[in-house]
């Protein structure tokens, strides 16, 4: 089991009090083989040409970035001024986005389809409250509008 570092312990303290008394539950509305799936990755992955590309993603950047579902994995960049986790994302972007794995699952009929877009949020977010109150609901609204059945959250 991973023991949190001092910075992670600080992050976990920011989560205190965020627990929902009643945890929401949504059963699948149909077979997984007919479901539309979106990835939400706490990842530094950016798409080539993203305005953030040239300056790097600032530590704590709370913004969500859209990743087109048809993106060439090789076009993804894992560039930031952060620390841990970036190396793995650079080693293979599928770790960050798992798109190839999900694409294969769709091709095999295990999943219905992938959503037209996926979302990436820089992992070590400093503005936790901003994410919880504003960014995450906004992201959920986007996926709801896209009629996504399953959102798969993958940390970097």
């Amino acid at each position: 089991m991973i023991e949190p570092s001092a910075s992670l312990r600080k992050f976990l303290r920011a989560l205190q009090g965020r627990r929902l008394d009643e945890v929401p539950w949504a059963p699948l509305s149909g077979p997984l083989a007919e479901s539309r799936v979106a990835l939400v990755a706490s990842s530094v992955c950016l798409v080539h040409g993203d305005p953030h590309e040239y300056v790097g993603v600032e530590i704590g950047d709370p913004s969500f970035r859209e990743i087109d579902s048809e993106v060439d994995i090789g076009e993804l960049l894992a560039r930031s001024r952060g620390r841990a986790g970036d190396g793995a994302a650079n080693l293979e972007r599928n770790i960050a986005l798992a798109l190839d794995g999900l694409r294969a699952a769709v091709a095999e009929g295990r999943l219905g389809e992938l959503n037209r877009r996926h979302l990436a949020l820089y992992g070590p977010v400093a503005a936790t409250v901003d994410v919880i109150r504003k960014k995450a609901p906004q992201a959920a609204g986007w996926l709801t509008a896209d009629q996504v059945d399953v959102a798969l959250l993958v940390p970097t």
Partner: protein, 66 residues
């Protein structure tokens, strides 16, 4: 459906469905360039989604998977 590296975060936030994965930071789907293993992790998540017996908050430990 959440994959999570930090057990402490799961305990604090309690997402509806969580699969705790016993990997280090940056490797939530296992080692690089191992698509079979990565698919196995994803499959464990798929199985949680399909398990109608689960109730919130549902947490599984990937390391104990057969």
């Amino acid at each position: 459906m959440v994959l999570q590296l930090l057990h402490a975060a799961l305990a604090e936030v309690r997402p509806p469905r969580s699969l705790w994965v016993p990997f280090r930071s940056g490797y939530a789907l296992g080692s690089p360039n191992d698509p079979e293993y990565r698919r196995a992790v994803l499959e464990a998540a798929f199985e949680m989604l399909e398990d109608a017996s689960l109730t919130a908050p549902a947490l599984r430990d990937y390391s104990t998977r057969d």
